[in-house]
Structure formats: structure tokens, C-alpha cells
């Protein structure tokens, strides 16, 4: 850059600018004249017309909120809907005598009584031009009374709005979620929300917010002195949200909720060949309608402070040691790695000495000589301790992860827990100390550091049942427009293949069949009349070494009971996973009967519907 102020004299450079300044002055003068002309146009030429508009007419801008999309279950039943709600609104600008009006209004609306005796909110006392809601969601009687006396109540308006409605009350509450008023963070993050707008807070309501919410429209209306709409000058219609078809089967969900009514726990039903979630039960539950109508502080506190955590979605967020339900996965791993064959036998004497202590089998008297299928059927811990030693922790972790355990599945239902599949690197990272060989023995029977969510277990068992495909759990099959034309369809999504030979998975399935149908099986309570079931029991210790911390122990120390199953055993359609928290009893005792009830309901419902649609009764399923 040349800094050459000496090239020109100061006067010369100045003179060069003067002409341009002159041009600029002309532009300024011209533009000011244009502005003056425009003012003359508006204020003089159009003045009286615009004055009339401003004084005689009362224009109002009304926002038309969109109708939120509905949710249907897989059979088309409505599970999330909208209902009308009526608010009583006062338009101060159209009220002649506020105290008189409130006095009159109190006759019809009980809530208004308190406002009369000098208890007016601040915004009613000073001149305000904003509408004031004096009673929300009033009853039909109130509504009728006000409509009938409309002439006597100038400045009172009834606003109809739409409220979210969950007809099945607490059924599938955690899956469906609920809506609430948008908060500051959400308004900053997403555009197009205003204070008081509703937005999905949890569950599908939140995860599918974009599809469900729609776009608001507006109305420019002319009103008379008493607040009645004279005419709509202009309107932009609100675009309703989109409707969802869920994978949920409401009838089966209701049956499952009944089967789990008395306990705390979780249950999930998955379609084996698609990953569709047919049922998701969480107990205890809550009623989402409380949130839809605006939850009271006391109700909210009750939900939050309940020690049983009714708001938690245990199916996707509860991380529990899988216990013996982990064994089918370990069996498949051992076969695939060739460390055992289906015929390999080990002797169980009630425990296995290892590294200076004895690792006990749940059956203190021992199982004697057992092969793999019997080890699964009777849930022999010693057999799996042997497998664990042969596999080593790294192989155990590798296979468990192939089945989708220990990782985030990225499901379309918000954040799901990933669970933990430990290995040496994980422990070094987490605690800074090396892996001990004894810990491998805990891991192989699903104890120790291992945790998984009920949904993850369902996905893993489904992979065993379907020949090795890990599906991403799906909740929505279709998004429909407001007129129910399909907009998007979601086909099954495969996360990965477990890459294990078919005959090995077949061996594991046969072992799981023994669990339910074998003479010594631990899951015999899951048997159905005419359809064969394969399953696995599990009892997850909450505190280590205290096996049998049974029903008499304090609740929080009692064992969790698991039962995982698929049916029909020979040609699996569904997986059911049930977890009962702190039952203090084995999975075979308390969880298996629940799964039985759900499977029974499943086959009753599907047979019924297939009879209806095809008139064909499928032959009784037979195993192998």
C-alpha cells in the first residue's frame, strides 16, 4: 500500500471530493422529498380512509393454532387425540364497567368470584389492551350459561382451543409421552414457537414433534364494541400436524398392563422379523392427561417424589444386570468360537473353585453332568463359568456387542440408555485398575458390571430367534397427512448381523425350548396350551454375593426377576421380555407367568384377526 499523501496537496484532494459531496446532497434532498411525498399520500390523500379504519373498525389479529397430529395404533385405534377446551376471556377494551361485569360473570363462572372483591390481578386494574383469560377449560354447563347470556356480558368471549387427550389414560403412557408449554430453552432452539404454545416433552410426543406440530395460521378479524366478530377480513389456515401410525398394538398393550398391574417393572413385545415394538409397559405409570390439562404443582411433586419413579421409562432407560438371560448369547458365542460343541459336558457340583474362592451355582446341590441344552434349561452357572474361562472377557464383550448390547441404538423415542458391556479397556478407563479373571465369571452369567435395558434384551433375543439379524426397534410405521394420505413409510431397519452360523443359533433356540418344555426347565410356567414357547429365566442380583436376598429383605436389596421368550418356538413371530423390579423371587416364578399371559393374549388377538381377514385358521405351531 502506498501511503502517499504528498502526491496531492491537501486542497487538491479536498476539491476532488466536493463534487461527490454535492451529488450526495442532491440524493439526500431527493430522498427526503420522496419521503415527504409518501407522507402526503398516506396522511392527506388516503388519510380519511385510514382514519376510518383505525377508529371505526376494530381490527384484531388472531392466531389460529394448528391441530396437533393424532396417533393411531397398528390396528387404527386412536391412542392420542385432541379434545376441545373452552376458556373464558375478557377483552378489556370492550368492557364498559369492569367491576359490574365481573360481578355478573361470577354468577356463571365460579373461578371469577375471587376476582370481584378487590382481588383483581394487576393487569385488570390498569388500562390494558390485552385479552385476559379469567377461567380455563370450563365445564359444559358454564359454557352454556355464558353463551346464553352473551348479550348481557359485553367484552366476554369464549375461546375454543384444543387440548391433548389420551383416551387410554395411563396405558402406554411412557411410550406416547405427553405435551407441555414450551419453555425458554425450547423457544431459543426451535423457531416458530410462542409463549404458551404446546410442545412434546417426552416419549413419541417429543421425538416426533416436528411431524406432529403443524404450522399455525391467523385471522384478521373485525369486531364490534362488545367483542363479537363482525367478519373475518383475511385468513391463513393453520396447517394441521401429521398423524402417526404406531407399531403399538393397543389391545395387547392393555392385556400386558393388566398382567403387570400389581408389580413394578417393565415389559416389551417386539416383532421378531421387523423390530417393531408392539407393547411397551412400564409400571408404575402416570396419567398423561394430567399434563395435557396442565399439571398442578402438588401432582407434579407427587410424581417426582414417588420412590418407585413412575415417570421413568424403564424399558429404554432402566439399566439392569441381565442375569441368566445373558446365557443364550454366551452359549451362541461359545459355539461360534468352537470352545464347546452342543455335546460338550461339564460337571456341576454346586460351585467352581477359582482364584482362591468358590463361584457358586444357584443350585447349591449341583446339577451333575450337563450338556449345553440342559445347562440352559436348568440355568447352570458352573457350566457357564467354564464357558467364560474358555472365551475370555474380550470375546464375551465382542459377541455381546454384536447383539446390540452396550451401545446406543439411536431409537426414534428420544434418549435410550446404552447399558454396559465391560472389558479390560473399559475397566481401566473407568476405574484405572486392570481386569481380574474372576470378574469374567461374573460377567458370563450376566452379573458384575454388565447392564442392559429390557429393550436391548428384547432386540438380542429377537436376533437369536430370527437367525441373527439385529433390528433397530421401531415405534412408527407410517406418517400420514392430515387427510390420512401416506407421506412416509418406515420399513424395518437392520442395525447389524450377529454373524453366527445358523446351526449354532438353532442349538441355542433348542436349549431355550428346553427351558419351557423340558422336564427340569426353569421356565415351565410360561407354557401355553397349543403353542410352543422358548425362553430363558433370569434372576439379577442387586447386591453381590447375596443370592437369595429374597422377599424378606428390604425392597431395594431384593433381586430383579427376568423372563425373555419368543414364540412360536419353531417359527418365531414375537419376543416378549419382562422384568420385575425387586421381586425377591426368581424369574421363572414371577416373570414367566406374566410373559405367558401376554403371549396367550398375542396369539388370541392375531388368530382372531387372521380369522377375520382370511377365514383361515393356521395350524397349531409345532416345534422342530
Amino acid at each position: 500500500m502506498n501511503e502517499t499523501p504528498e502526491v496531492f496537496t491537501s486542497q487538491e484532494t479536498l476539491a476532488a471530493c466536493y463534487r461527490r459531496v454535492g451529488v450526495m446532497s442532491l440524493i439526500i434532498l431527493l430522498v427526503l422529498c420522496v419521503l415527504g411525498f409518501r407522507l402526503w399520500q398516506l396522511q392527506i390523500v388516503d388519510g380519511s380512509r385510514l382514519r376510518t379504519l383505525s377508529e371505526k373498525n376494530r381490527l384484531r389479529l388472531r392466531r389460529l393454532p394448528p391441530m396437533r397430529g393424532l396417533m393411531h395404533d397398528r390396528t387404527g385405534r386412536v391412542v392420542v387425540a385432541n379434545r376441545p377446551s373452552f376458556d373464558v376471556v375478557i377483552v378489556p377494551a370492550d368492557v364498559q364497567e369492569m367491576s359490574l361485569l365481573l360481578h355478573k360473570l361470577a354468577r356463571y363462572v365460579p373461578d371469577v368470584k375471587d376476582l370481584g372483591n378487590g382481588n383483581l390481578p394487576r393487569n385488570l386494574r390498569r388500562p390494558a389492551y390485552e385479552d385476559i383469560v379469567v377461567a380455563r377449560d370450563v365445564s359444559r354447563q358454564t359454557l352454556v350459561a355464558i353463551e346464553a347470556h352473551q348479550m348481557d356480558l359485553p367484552g366476554v368471549r369464549i375461546d375454543v382451543s384444543s387440548k391433548r387427550y389420551y383416551p387410554a389414560e395411563s396405558v402406554a403412557a411412557h411410550l406416547l409421552g405427553h405435551v407441555g408449554e414450551v419453555n425458554n430453552t425450547e423457544m431459543e432452539l426451535f423457531s416458530g414457537y410462542r409463549l404458551g404454545d404446546l410442545t412434546g416433552k417426552v416419549g413419541l410426543e417429543k421425538a416426533w414433534e416436528e411431524a406432529l406440530r403443524g404450522h399455525s395460521g391467523g385471522q384478521q378479524v373485525e369486531i364490534d364494541a362488545s367483542g363479537r366478530t363482525l367478519r373475518v377480513l383475511d385468513e391463513v389456515r393453520a396447517q394441521p400436524g401429521r398423524n402417526l401410525i404406531l407399531t403399538l398394538d393397543l389391545e395387547l398393550q392393555e392385556e400386558a398392563e393388566r398382567a403387570l398391574a400389581e408389580v413394578e417393572g417393565a415389559l416389551v413385545v417386539l416383532s421378531v422379523h421387523t423390530g417393531e415394538v408392539l407393547v411397551m409397559v412400564n409400571r408404575p405409570a402416570f396419567n398423561p392427561n394430567l399434563f395435557a390439562r396442565g399439571i398442578r404443582r402438588s401432582e407434579w411433586r407427587q410424581l417426582l417424589e414417588n420412590p418407585l419413579h413412575p415417570l421413568t421409562n424403564r424399558v429404554i432407560q432402566g439399566q439392569y444386570p441381565p442375569g441368566s438371560t445373558f446365557k443364550p448369547i454366551m452359549a451362541a458365542a461359545a459355539l461360534e468360537e468352537g470352545v464347546i460343541t452342543p455335546e460338550t459336558q461339564f460337571r456341576c457340583q454346586g460351585g467352581l473353585p477359582f482364584g482362591g474362592r468358590v463361584f457358586r451355582c444357584w443350585k447349591r446341590s449341583g446339577h451333575g453332568r450337563v450338556d449345553l441344552k440342559q445347562a440352559l434349561a436348568q440355568s447352570c452357572d458352573v457350566y457357564f463359568y467354564q464357558i467364560g474361562q474358555l472365551l475370555g472377557i474380550e470375546k464375551i464383550a465382542e459377541y455381546a456387542r454384536r447383539f446390540g448390547l452396550g451401545r446406543d441404538m439411536h431409537i426414534a423415542l428420544g434418549h435410550a440408555a446404552a447399558g454396559i458391556i465391560p472389558d479390560a479397556a473399559w475397566k481401566k478407563d473407568r476405574f484405572g485398575i486392570p481386569w481380574y479373571a474372576g470378574e469374567t465369571l461374573s460377567v458370563v452369567i450376566g452379573q458384575g458390571y454388565v447392564t442392559a435395558t429390557p429393550l436391548q434384551m428384547a432386540v438380542a433375543i429377537a436376533a437369536i430367534a430370527n437367525g441373527g439379524t439385529v433390528y433397530r426397534p421401531a415405534f412408527v410405521t407410517q406418517v400420514l397427512g392430515a387427510d390420512n394420505t401416506p407421506i412416509q413409510t418406515y420399513p424395518p431397519e437392520i442395525v447389524t448381523q450377529v454373524d453366527i452360523r445358523a446351526e449354532h443359533l438353532q442349538t441355542v433356540r433348542e436349549g431355550m425350548w428346553e427351558v419351557v418344555h423340558g422336564k427340569a426347565g426353569t421356565g415351565r410356567k410360561a407354557r401355553l396350551m397349543d403353542i410352543e414357547v422358548a425362553g430363558k429365566t433370569g434372576t439379577a442380583q442387586v447386591i453381590s454375593g447375596a443370592r437369595g436376598s429374597a422377599a424378606d429383605a428390604p425392597r431395594r436389596y431384593r433381586d430383579h426377576a427376568w423372563f425373555v421368550a419368543f414364540a412360536p418356538a419353531s417359527d418365531p413371530e414375537v419376543v416378549v421380555v419382562c422384568l420385575i423390579e425387586h421381586s425377591g423371587k426368581g424369574g421363572g416364578k414371577v416373570a414367566a407367568p406374566v410373559v405367558r399371559a401376554v403371549l396367550e393374549a398375542y396369539f388370541r388377538i392375531t388368530q382372531h384377526s387372521s380369522e377375520e381377514s382370511h377365514g383361515i385358521r393356521q395350524a397349531t405351531h409345532r416345534a422342530f
Binding site: M1, N2, E3, T4, P5, V7, F8, S10, T13, L14, A16, C17, Y18, R20, V21, M24, S25, I28, L29, V31, L32, L35, G36, R38, L39, W40, L42, Q43, I44, D46, G47, S48, R49, L50, R51, L53, S54, E55, R58, L59, L61, A93, R126, P127, Y129, E130, E188, S191, G192, G217, G218, Q219, Q220, L233, D234, E235, V236
Partner: protein, 366 residues
Amino acid sequence: MGFDRRLIEHFDWVLFFLTAGLLSVGILGIYSATYEGAGYASPWVTRQIVWVAVGLAGMALAFAIDYRHFEQWAYVFYAAALFLLILVPLIGSFGGGARRWIHLGPFSLQPAEFMKIGLLLVIARFVNRYVPIEGYGIREILIPALFVALPAGLILLQPNLGTAVTLGLLFLTLTFVSGLRLRSLAVLGLIGSGILPFVWAHLEPYQRQRITSFLHPDLDPLGAGYHMIQAKVTVGSGMLWGKGFLLGTQNRLDFLPEKHTDFVFAVLAEEWGFVGMIGLLLLYGALLARLIVIALRARERFGLLIAVGVAGMVFWQLIINIGMNVGVLPVVGVPLPLLSYGGSSLLTMMLALGLALNVSTRRFLF
């Protein structure tokens, strides 16, 4: 820098009183726009008065130091403003869907405003020191163009279209007056229209809506179009003599958005009518004329450019703001100089006028 008696003898009272007059009109406008009934003190009026006091102090400071020192320190001012601007996305706070403010106790600053001063100083310094014989072409103004592009880009991201556009116009004004070749001006225009689709693609939906509804108000008579229609109704309903102070019904019934900031002109137009608004335009015209006189009387180029730059700042914001109030320009959120509520914009405008006072008064020192 010793005290010079001539500073008092030659003090530019004309510019000072024009400024004071416009400030008073502004306070009346804000008072009316935020009036809630007798006996109710509007916090906006109080705050604006505090800001006027702060602005007067700033103006005194910008006046007291010989403006040629500002030339030497131009890059420091620019860097400081740029630093604040970079802080905005890091520690700034949200408001109305954009991130523009830095909170300092009870007040919040809008660094984009201060950038106007920084930019005015660096560009004036640059074109003062670098005078090519052939006049300025595109290549010669590449560096000042970068000075603009950097903060304008940051400001667009906030997003704040109005201030970014103001910076660009300030740059054009200064380079035009210092002798930008007309052919290069045309090229700049072409480049500008080339950038336009890019800017358009990066606008927030609400900004796009404002512009489309300006071009086709019938398409959207409710959202952004509603505000435009209401602004026109408000201005027009003032007629010849206005409805009288505090008697504007459009104002009272809250038909206008942002009525103490972006739409304070409409509030005044409704209550003071055509006569009042022509008076206001004359007042602004006189201020601009005075600034141009100061420019023409300046004894050297930097002083001339400062005065021209300040005139440009006032002029562009004036026409963008009034333009959107009377429905001839889209709503882009530019404050009306010295009238709109807003601390940072007021302080910036008063600092700029302090610089002009400085140039005007010190012309006798040469």
C-alpha cells in the same frame, strides 16, 4: 493537548441544538409509545434519559480529543469493536430469536452498533492516506471492503440484517465521496446483486417472510404483512394535524409491534400528523445539511470524510426506518437515529455526532 479558547468560540451550536431537538422528540415519542396511564412511569423513558446522559458524556469525549488522534487510533477502535462482536456468539444472550446482546448489569450492549464508529474511522483513515492517481477502482478498495465484510458477516449471523446493510451503505458512501470510479460503483452493484441470493439463502425464515410480504403484501396479510398494513394505517390515520399527543388509538390499542423502537415514527405520525412529520423531516434535513456544511468546510480530507460518514449514517438509517414505517421498504429493524429507544444505537449516534462537532470546531486550528 492544552485547552484552547477557540474551542468555545467556534463551538458548533447549530449541530448541537439540532441533536438536542431530535433527542427531545424521541423521548416524547417513547413516552407516548409506552404510556400506560397517568402516574405510571414508563421504565423505557427513564432508561432512555439515562442513555441520553451517557450519550452526552460520550459526545463530550468524542469532541474533546482532537479528531486527528482518532485517525491514529482508528485500528484500535476497530479491533475493540470487532472483539466485542466476536464475543457475542460466545457470551451473548438471546432475544427475539437472535443473539445480539452482551449483558452488563442492568444494561445490555449491542456491539454491532459500535462497529459503525470503528468502521467509519478505519475507512476514513484508509482513503485519507491512500489516494491513487487514477481514482479508486475495485482493486484499490479491496482492503476497506474486507474491513466491512468481516463484521457484516458476523452481524448477519446474529442475525441482524438491518445493521449489516447499514455498514455496507456506510462503506459505499465513504468510497463514493472519496472518488470511487463510477464504473467500479457499477461493478460493486453487480457483485452486490450476486451476493444477494446467497444472503437470501441464509436468512432466517422470519426475515424472508418480511421481505416477501413487502413485495407481495397480499400473500401474507396476517404475519409480517399485518405489521406493514398496521404501520400504514397508523401513519395515515394521523391526517393533517394528527390525533394529538397521547391520543393515538392505533398506538394505545397495541396494533404496532416494537412501537418504542422500530416503529416510533409511526407513533409520532399518528399523533402529530402530516404537519408534525414534515417538521420532523425538516429537522433531520437541517441536521444533514449542517453535517454536509461541516464536510465542505473541513480543512483536510479525514475531517471531510468523518463528516460525510456521519451524514451517511444518519441518512441511511433514516430512510430505511421511515421507509418501513410508511410501507415503501421491507421491515428490517433499523433504529431511527436519535429517536428510537435503544442504548447502544443512541450512544453510537451521539459519539458519531461528537466526532462531527469535533471536525466542525477544529477547522480553525489549521
